[in-house]
C-alpha cells in the first residue's frame, strides 16, 4: 500500500489537448483540460459518451500522450515520453481495472496477478508471494488456481483489481469497473475500492452511473472534451 507521505500534487495536467485526425476534420477529444490530482484522492470522471472521458483516462493512464499541453506525473513529464518509458511508468505506477476485466483466459488467477511483476523483473518467489497477498486482499485467497472462465464476473473483476494492486501503484484507474456486473457484484467491487481508498490508495473511476460516482470524494464532469464541473462530493 502506498502510504500518505505527503499530500502534494501527484498528477498535473495543463491545457491538455488530444486531437484525432479523421480524414477531413480534426476531432478534439480533449480540448484544453487542466487537472490536478492529489495523493489519496478518490475521483470519479463522468460524462456522456463522446465527452472525452475515455481519452482522458487513457492519457492519465499513460496509454496515450497528449497532442498538446503538459502532463506531469509525480514530477515526470509524461508528454515527452517514448513508448518504452510509457510502458515502464504504466508498469510501476499505474494499475488498470477494465470494464471487461481483461484477464488472460489461459492463465490462473495467480498467474494473471503475477504478470505485472514479471514485466517489472521481480524474482519468481517474491512475485508469487506478492500476488498471493494481493489476491487475499480482494478475498480470493481460495481461488488462486482457478482460471477466469471458472469464476463469476465479480470474482474476475476482483482478480483484475488484485492485478492492479500488486505492483503497489501510485494510482488505480478503473474504467466502468461495474459495467459488466450485476448490481450485487457491483456493490461488492465498489466496497473493495472504498476500502482501498481508506488504506491510502489514489483511485480514479470512470463511470456514467451516478450512484457509482457517489462513492468518490470528487466528481469531474466532462462535456465535449472540456471539464464542465469539478466538485467535492458531500458524503
Amino acid at each position: 500500500m502506498s502510504e500518505v507521505v505527503k499530500n502534494g500534487e501527484m498528477i498535473v495536467l495543463k491545457a491538455v489537448k488530444k486531437i484525432y485526425n479523421l480524414g477531413s476534420e480534426d476531432v478534439h477529444a480533449l480540448d484544453g483540460v487542466d487537472l490536478d490530482i492529489q495523493r489519496n484522492e478518490y475521483i470519479s470522471i463522468m460524462g456522456p459518451s463522446g465527452s472525452g472521458k475515455s481519452t482522458l483516462m487513457n492519457v492519465i493512464g499513460c496509454l496515450d500522450t497528449p497532442s498538446e499541453g503538459t502532463y506531469i506525473f509525480e514530477g515526470e513529464p509524461v508528454h515527452e515520453m517514448d513508448d518504452n518509458q510509457l510502458a515502464s511508468i504504466r508498469n510501476r505506477k499505474i494499475g488498470f481495472v477494465f470494464q471487461t476485466f481483461n484477464l488472460l483466459s489461459k492463465l490462473t488467477a495467480l498467474r494473471n496477478v503475477e504478470l505485472p511483476l514479471i514485466y517489472a523483473n521481480v524474482p519468481r518467489d517474491e512475485r508469487i508471494e506478492q500476488a498471493k497477498i494481493a489476491l487475499e486482499k480482494v478475498g480470493l485467497g481460495d481461488r488462486m488456481k482457478h482460471k477466469p472462465n471458472e469464476m463469476s464476473g465479480g470474482q474476475r473483476q476482483r482478480v483484475a483489481i488484485a492485478r492492479s494492486l500488486v505492483t503497489n501503484p501510485s494510482i488505480i484507474l478503473a474504467d466502468e469497473p461495474t459495467g459488466n456486473l450485476d448490481s450485487k457484484s457491483g456493490q461488492e467491487i465498489m466496497k473493495i475500492f472504498d476500502s482501498l481508498h481508506d488504506s491510502g490508495n489514489t483511485i480514479i473511476l470512470v463511470t456514467h452511473e451516478r450512484y457509482i460516482a457517489e462513492h468518490a470524494n470528487r466528481t469531474i464532469n466532462l462535456l465535449d472534451g472540456k471539464i464542465r464541473t469539478d466538485e467535492k462530493n458531500n458524503k
Binding site: 493512464g61 504504466r90 508498469n91
Partner: protein, 404 residues
C-alpha cells in the same frame, strides 16, 4: 531479463501446445526441409565413404588397359572389333617401362563353385599372375597367393574370396581342401580378406583367383580381358605417356592412327562420381530450399494469424507494462520454437532413416549436419517470425484493448 525470457518461452510453449494440430501443420514444411537436407547429406557422406573404399580397390596408381573405355561414348562395335589385349603385353610393359612397377593380366568369367553338397553361384573367377598382388588391393588373410610356377604349369590351385570360404567351409579351415570351379577340381591355397562391395554393387568377396595359365587351359583364351599396370605414383603423367607409347609400339600403330586400346584410370570414376554427386546435392539443395521457403511462409502466415487472434492479449500485456521489445521477443520466440521443434523432429526422422539407408549404403549422419539442421531451423524461425512479431510489438495498446 532472464525472468522475461523464461516467461516468454513459457508463453510460447503454451501457445504451441494449446493448438497442437495447427503447430504441427505449421512446422511440417520445416520438418520436410530439414529431413531433406539431412537425408541428402547423410546419403552423400555415405556415398563418399563407400566410393573412397571402392576406389582404394582400384588403386590410384594403377592403369587398367582394356578394349573398352570405362566412361566413353565411342561406338560399341568399333571397340568390340579392336584387337584383343594379350597376356604377354604384361611382361613387355614391365621390361620396357621404367615407371612400370608391376603388370598383371586378368581374365574373367562367372562360374558356380561347389564342395560336397554345398554350392555357391555367381562366383567371378579371375585368371591372373603373381603381379596381381601388387596391382590390386588384395590382402591374403590365410594361406598364400599363386606363384609363377603354378601359372606356367597350369596348376589347379585357387585363392578364394571371403564369402566363398564362408559359404563352402563355414567354420572349418579351407586351406589344402578341394573345391570345384564348374566341373573342375581345385585345391584351395589361400583366402582373401573381406573387401565388401565395389560401389555397393558387385561383391568382391565372391571371387576365386586361379593361375592365368590354368584359366586359359580350362576355360578360354578369349572373353573379357584386361591388364592392370601399377606405376610410379610420383610420376603418373610420364608413366601414362610411357605406357601409351609402349602399347602403341607393341601394336605397331602409326603416328597418325588413333589408339586401339583404352587406358582407364580411377580418375574416370571420380569425374563421373563427382557429377553424380553434384546432381544429387543440387537436387537436394533445391528441394530443401524450396520446402524451407514454403515452410517459412507458412510459419509467417500462422504468426500473423496468431498476432491477430491475440491482439487483445497484446493490449493487456502492454497496458500492464510490457515494452515493445518484450512483445517482439514473445512472438519471435514462438516462431523460433515452432521451427526448432520442427527441425528437431525432421532431424530425428532423418536419424532413424539413416539406419535404414545404412542397410544399402554404409552411412551415418555427420554431427556437423545435425548442427547445420538446427542452425537452419533457427534462421528460418527468426526470418519468418520477425515481421509478424514486429507488427505485434508496435500495436497501439488502446486499439489493441478495444479489439474484439
Amino acid at each position: 531479463m532472464f525472468q522475461l525470457f523464461f516467461e516468454n518461452i513459457r508463453i510460447a510453449v503454451s501457445a504451441i501446445f494449446s493448438s497442437k494440430m495447427r503447430s504441427f501443420l505449421t512446422a511440417l514444411g520445416i520438418i520436410i526441409g530439414v529431413l531433406a537436407v539431412t537425408l541428402m547429406g547423410t546419403l552423400i557422406s555415405g556415398l563418399d565413404k563407400s566410393f573412397e573404399k571402392s576406389m582404394s580397390m582400384l588403386g590410384k596408381d594403377v592403369f587398367h588397359i582394356s578394349k573398352f573405355e570405362w566412361f566413353g561414348n565411342q561406338d560399341y562395335w568399333e571397340l568390340r572389333n579392336r584387337p584383343d589385349i594379350k597376356p604377354e603385353y604384361a611382361e613387355k610393359l614391365v621390361e620396357q617401362g621404367k615407371y612400370v612397377l608391376a603388370a598383371s593380366p586378368q581374365s574373367f568369367r562367372m562360374s558356380d563353385m561347389s564342395r560336397d553338397e554345398k554350392n555357391i553361384t555367381g562366383v567371378s573367377v579371375i585368371g591372373t599372375t603373381t603381379d596381381y598382388m601388387q596391382t590390386s588391393n588384395t590382402t591374403i588373410e590365410e594361406g598364400r597367393f599363386i606363384t609363377d610356377g603354378e601359372h606356367n604349369s597350369g596348376s589347379r590351385v585357387a585363392v578364394i574370396g571371403f564369402d566363398v570360404a564362408e559359404e563352402l567351409f563355414e567354420k572349418s579351415d579351407p586351406i589344402g581342401e578341394n573345391v570345384k570351379i564348374g566341373p573342375y577340381k581345385f585345391r584351395v591355397i589361400g583366402v582373401v580378406e573381406k573387401q565388401g562391395k565395389f560401389l555397393g554393387l558387385q561383391s568382391m568377396d565372391t571371387q576365386a583367383i586361379i593361375p592365368l595359365g590354368t584359366f586359359q587351359r580350362l576355360f578360354s583364351r578369349r572373353g573379357f580381358f584386361r591388364l592392370s599396370v601399377k606405376v610410379d605414383k610420383d610420376n603418373m603423367e610420364e608413366a601414362e605417356y610411357e605406357v601409351r607409347s609402349i602399347m602403341r609400339r607393341i601394336r605397331g600403330i602409326r603416328p597418325e592412327e588413333p589408339d586401339n586400346f583404352a587406358i582407364n584410370k580411377q580418375e574416370a570414376f571420380e569425374t563421373t562420381y563427382n557429377s553424380i554427386k553434384l546432381a544429387i546435392g543440387g537436387t537436394g539443395i533445391f528441394i530443401t530450399v524450396l520446402s524451407l521457403i514454403v515452410g517459412g511462409i507458412g510459419i509467417m502466415n500462422i504468426m500473423f494469424v496468431s498476432v491477430k487472434e491475440r491482439t487483445r492479449e497484446i493490449g493487456i500485456r502492454k497496458a500492464i507494462g510490457a515494452t515493445r521489445g518484450v512483445i517482439l521477443s514473445q512472438f519471435l520466440i514462438e516462431a523460433v520454437l515452432i521451427c526448432l521443434m520442427g527441425g528437431l523432429t525432421g532431424l530425428g526422422l532423418a536419424f532413424g532413416l539413416s539406419f535404414a539407408i545404412d542397410k544399402f549404403l554404409p552411412s551415418e549422419m555427420p554431427v556437423s549436419l545435425a548442427i547445420l539442421a538446427v542452425v537452419i531451423s533457427l534462421a528460418v524461425g527468426i526470418m519468418s517470425g520477425l515481421v509478424p512479431s514486429y507488427r505485434a510489438a508496435k500495436l497501439d495498446p488502446i486499439e489493441a484493448l478495444s479489439y474484439d
